[in-house]
């Protein structure tokens, strides 16, 4: 009985081993598919970290957006330091002496037109004065933009502020 049992056990063991071998050959491929599945997990993990940064930058702008909003108008006001701009225009090496003098002549002519307007002589209306003002500003900017871009940028940023001074009689009188 023992021999029979051992024989059966051995035959079963052999059969099991063959099954294992046979199954082992088939089992190998299945592990292959699993690897593809793990990558998606890391990708998800990568995607997850990406999402938080997006959320993180989004949050700071909200906090900063509130602060700069009131700060922007405050910054615009000091930008119009006409005296400083005038001095920088005089001191810049981007424009030659004759050009500066010629520009001054044209600025003086334009200011005289504004004064005439404020005195009630209105053939050149305020709307009509806007064009020569823009033209003169373009001339100044074109002269500065290559050699003194910082000054050109500041003058361009002060475009409306300068216009508000010129078009307002009281403000203009403070600068003359």
């Amino acid at each position: 009985m023992d021999h029979r049992a051992t024989d059966r056990y051995q035959s079963l063991k052999l059969a099991f081993a063959i099954l294992l071998l046979a199954a082992g050959c088939k089992v190998v491929p299945p592990p292959a598919p699993p690897p593809p599945t793990p990558p998606p997990e890391p990708e998800r993990k990568e995607a997850a970290p990406r999402a938080p940064p997006k959320a993180a930058p989004a949050a700071p702008p909200k906090s900063t957006a509130v602060v700069p909003a009131p700060a922007a108008p405050r910054a615009a006001a000091p930008a119009l330091d006409l005296r400083s701009l005038e001095q920088r225009l005089k001191d810049t090496n981007a424009i030659g002496v004759l050009t500066k003098l010629s520009l001054k002549n044209q600025v003086d002519d334009l200011v005289a037109q504004f004064r005439a307007f404020h005195d009630g002589r209105q053939p050149p209306t305020l709307t009509e004065l806007r064009r020569p003002y823009e033209l003169l500003l373009m001339k100044v900017l074109s002269l500065l933009q290559d050699s003194d871009p910082a000054l050109a940028k500041e003058i361009n940023a002060s475009r409306e502020a300068i216009w508000s001074v010129l078009s307002d009689r009281n403000k203009l009188s403070q600068f003359l």
């Binding site: 424009i95 030659g96 002496v97 004759l98 050009t99 003098l101 010629s102 520009l103 002549n105 044209q106 001339k139 002269l143």
Partner: protein, 76 residues
Amino acid sequence: MKRILFVVSLAASIATAADDPKQRQDLTAVIALNGKPCGEVVSYVVQADNDYVATCKDGNRYRVHVKDGRVIVEKQ
């Protein structure tokens, strides 16, 4: 005596026919600012202080000088 005068005048003409690129650029800008056709000043002659005759690339010649604090550009 004539030779000496000739040499002196030649030297003077050489001295006044200066060719400073910055001055040429300045004259170019002034002529353009005054709305005159020029393109670019290729040469100029100094006649006196703040008094130049500029020759443009397109052949135009202008006298650029200062009078009563104003820059005057006159076609020659």
